[in-house]
Subunit: 99 residues, 7 copies
């Protein structure tokens, strides 16, 4: 079976690759644990969206490449090839992060 | 009673034949357990769809032959003849897998 | 009281007569327990259907004579005369079986 | 206080007088316990009906005199004068019985 | 603070004064406990009604003076002056009683 | 920080100042505990209202100055300056009291 | 990774910076614990809003800079750089505070 590379999430699910913040700065200084605990990730793929009560399709509010803040718990672990991703429902993603 | 071959799922249920990933490559090399744990399957049959709040029929988003990612738990085991399948509600299928 | 023969289910309920698969083939050979465990039945009567949110009547998707796959649990036992039936809500019936 | 004779149920409630099946036939033969266990009753009064999501009044599907199949549990006991009745919500009545 | 006499219930709540059936007839004969257990009361005040899903106001189906059958449990005790009343949601009142 | 004096409740919340009924009459006579147990208060501020299913804003049914009957439990305690108030959802307020 | 400064909350979430009331007045007098317990904060960012049943986007009722009263419990802790914020759903914010 050829290695699976891509998952198109269903409904309003989004696929996220978690970002593990570096414990040290580029010059090797240990970052205080407090600043490194932000649970965030990059959106890799989004579903087509979910339907509202009247059957209208509501597209997902996030797009590929968005840097998003993730909840502490939840998310389904998904391994594609040797990469690890997490699948969330759109509503559980807390927001987009900007520099 | 003639052997039953086909199940047409009701509502937005989908019938899936699980794919058990090979533990070894074609040349017999043991695959690391991590890559073989993907819980996926092929869509064998889909229901007509479910109705939204206003009674409109919303067709199922998957079609026969789709390679889908399945949740770790859930699904109803169904034996047809000597083959084993699993029945899921559409919303529980996590997405479609592509090479 | 004359023997009661017929039940017209209410709402989207369906009345099912369970099919107990023969443990042996016609020629008396014992069937492997696996193939005989299919929990199925014949639809004997269906209700008028249930109403959606806007009060429209949605007719039941099954009809008399359909061979249906039943969930492992649930259903209300109903005895009419000396026959035993089971009453299900339409949504709990898993699908129709075809040879 | 004059004896109360009539209850007009509210909403989609129905008032039922349970039918206790005779343990013996007219000629005194003991009926097998299996056939006598049918939990049924006569509809004595019905409410005006309940409203759907949009406020439309949906009349009750049963009428006075209907012979109905009752669920094993549930129902509110109501004594009017020296008669005993049971009050059910329409959705809990399983269907109408016919000879 | 002048004695409070009147409560206008909110939403679809109704205020009821329970009727305690006499244990004896006018001529002093003890009534069998069975007939005296009817849990009923008089409607003293009704709220403006509740809104359906679309915001339309649905007036309460009971009016002042109605003799109503009450559920065995529930209701909020309200003391106004030295009188005791009970507050119910409209849906919990089982129906109107008539001689 | 200047002392905070005013809270504008959100959605269909209402701010209430509880009325503690006097244990004695003006002439010092002890009031029977029964009459003093009415759990009531004055409406101090109301929110803009909540939206129904279709997004229409449904204004709060109470207004500043209303004397209201409160449920025995519930409500969020709010201290503004040295005054104590309670915040309720509109639906939990039982009705308006009138002399 | 450049320090993250901004979070745009999703749906009808709002980002709040809690206000820790001073234990002493400017002239150093200890404030009674009662007055300092108000659980409030400043709105730092709001989401685009949530959709009602029919898919219409309902904007958030709060805006940046609003001084809001917070519930005693709930809220998700979010660290951006060395600042600590809390993320709430709009409905959980109790109201706006004014001098």
């Amino acid at each position: 079976m050829a290695a699976l590379k891509r998952l198109v999430p269903s409904l309003n699910r989004v696929l996220v690759e978690k970002i593990v913040p570096p414990a040290k700065t580029n010059t090797g200084i240990l970052l205080p644990e407090k600043t490194t605990k932000l649970n965030s990730g990059k959106i890799v793929a989004v579903g087509p969206g979910a339907r509202d009560r009247n059957g209208n399709l509501i597209p997902v509010a996030f797009k590929e490449g968005d840097h998003v803040l993730l909840p502490e718990y939840g998310g389904t672990e998904v391994k594609l090839g040797d990469k690890e991703y997490h699948l969330f429902r759109e509503d559980d993603v807390l927001g987009t992060l900007h520099e």
